[in-house]
Symmetry: C2
DNA sequence: GACCACTTCTGCAACGTTGTAGAGCGGGGT
DNA sequence: ACCCCGCTCTACAACGTTGCAGAAGTGGTC
């Protein structure tokens, strides 16, 4: 059923190695020999056994992308771009879900390597710097903002500045009681911490008081958490006139809760998110948000990984910044 | 850096094969030998080379999931369930995007196999029966409804009946001018054809005329296409009083277009979708839809693949039906 | 015609693992 | 005392591929 180099070689009347040479595009093969071999390959529908090739070469041509959850739109969109960018390097992408659980993230970061993958692009939530330090050297690129995760390449966006800018946008529109949804107390909430810091910076710079009752925590960042947090904010007395949600799904949940409470967006309460997921362009109202350049993030991550694989594996870690911009839509129209 | 069985064997003072036996849980190993080996494994942080193991065993422990696009929520949610279900069999899932393009789908269906994967779960849009027939035997499970795709296992839901039921729901609510969004003329639109058939069946059964001007095509099924189609329907004279969108993203786009046109949902126009994606539970209004049991679809697909891998590869193809139900929400409230 | 350089092709070994066959040992039954 | 069996472990070969070293053939130069 499945044929090997040997079968092709016998059929073409050449050695195994010559077939291998043809398959790999070695130049010093006579045209007629090449033709005979190619014919045999076609007739037998020969395909190389990648396991064997990889065993021999020490490379697999597969990289892994590990994200918390695939059905979080941000990660799905990111995954798409990573797969596309990796294809340009001839890589296949193996996608892993960690659920954001530390144990699973550790398994992925170490165990998954097992010579099955050449490298890893990793968006960790719970992993600590020590976990990473303990890994032997599967080349790895981290996505996201954990400030303390030791010596690995990574691609980040400037969360603090982005959060400050989108908050400033709300302030410029005249909002004064600006709530935040999505804060997290645990170590896992690195993004949350940085975005909260940007929010606080903007308030301070505008001379607005930081009011802790306006900051709603959210353990997960799903729509349901955003809706619940918004409902909570609405029942605590004075209503905010704007809300900065730390990602778009939270914001979409918040929009929903505001709708249920009979409040208009942006007239009664303005809403902004973070991530610029597709949904936010079609929600009612459409969602103002921070738009990280996901394509660029994916491209940079793949390039970092490629240069790490081809180059010096002990070179110092690099951190690249990906651009973002504010995408202002109906949920903050003046 | 990276250690092999041989290194462990030397350190533990046993043969390579004994280490292999320990790693694979072979029972006839003396406890003290086992302990020594395990200690050596731990000290060296040994991990098996999967390429070598797979070369030897002929199995890779990797299956592929091929979908048109990862950032279509339905496929992302499905992917999540497939990854989870596959994990129970100890499989890793490699995810491929075909973009729905026939050429890419053919590459995935044949080329990708290349001994890298044991099997494939495949959601094809454009692939023809001949394409499939020409493949040598990588075990494959097809998802979805193409009626004509030859002898491969597949998991389907009853699209025609589901579409009829959701249309009947609209009819029962008193709607009479029921539009449909998402029809496709090409061969690729198997789902579209079946859902249209169910829609027509329901109209016929209720004695309603089938009006072609109420059926809007959509080449892709993204939000933007749904919005465009809805705008088109609104400008063609008599306004429909309900719309059946062939998937949820189309429906979310349609909701957006209705909102822009100043029409209320469901008071002026009722809307239903298909797929039950997360977004539809938080949109304004929430979306009535056909909810296929995605977890079940994924589980059945993985099980079919498993039984094909372990069992008779030439057994007749099986088609399993996954359940669905109607999820009625605000967009069709009476 | 001797030499050299280049082209074309080949055989061997090795990548790290596991299946098979079997060696050595000790215990229990006769 | 002998045989047999089961336990424990080992040696070897093989999975399909490619790097390396080199053999054979071709043609050009002095």
């Amino acid at each position: 059923m499945r044929h090997r180099l040997k079968d092709v070689a016998e059929r073409a009347g050449v050695s195994v190695k010559t077939v291998s040479n043809v398959v790999n595009g070695y130049v010093h093969v006579r045209p007629d020999t090449r033709a005979r071999v190619e014919e045999a390959i076609a007739e037998l529908n020969y395909r190389p056994n990648l396991s064997a090739r990889h065993l021999r070469k020490g490379r697999t041509g597969v990289i892994a992308l590990a994200v918390p959850e695939l059905d979080i739109p941000y990660f799905a969109e990111l995954a798409r771009h990573v797969v596309t960018a990796a294809a340009e390097y001839g890589w296949t992408v193996l996608i892993d879900q960690t659920g954001g659980r530390r144990e699973q993230e550790r398994v992925v970061a170490s165990g998954i390597s097992d010579h099955l993958i050449d490298g890893l692009i990793f968006s960790p939530l719970a992993l600590t710097a020590e976990d990473l330090a303990s890994l032997d050297g599967t080349p790895m690129v981290l996505l996201g903002e954990r400030v303390d995760h030791g010596p690995a390449d990574r691609v980040v966006i400037d969360n603090v500045t982005a959060a400050r800018e989108i908050t400033e946008h709300l302030i410029q529109l005249g909002h004064r009681r600006i709530a935040a949804i999505g804060s997290q107390r645990t170590d896992e909430g690195a993004s949350a911490r940085l975005r909260l810091a940007g929010y606080v910076e903007a308030l301070r710079a505008a001379g607005l008081a930081y009011d802790e009752t306006l900051v709603a925590p959210a353990t997960a960042w799903h729509r349901a958490d955003g809706a619940a947090a918004m409902r909570g904010l609405l029942t605590t007395g004075v209503r905010p006139d704007a809300v900065f949600c730390f990602n778009d799904t939270l914001a979409l949940g918040a929009l929903r809760a505001l709708h249920e409470a009979g409040l208009r967006v942006p007239e009664d309460v303005a809403v902004v998110g973070f991530d610029d997921i597709e949904d936010g362009r079609f929600s009612v109202p459409t969602l103002s948000t921070v738009a990280p350049d996901k394509e660029q993030i994916a491209r940079l991550a793949v390039e970092l990984l490629a240069s790490r694989l081809d180059g010096d594996r002990s070179a110092p870690a690099r951190a690249l910044k990906a651009p973002y911009h504010l995408e202002l839509r109906e949920s903050t129209r003046a």
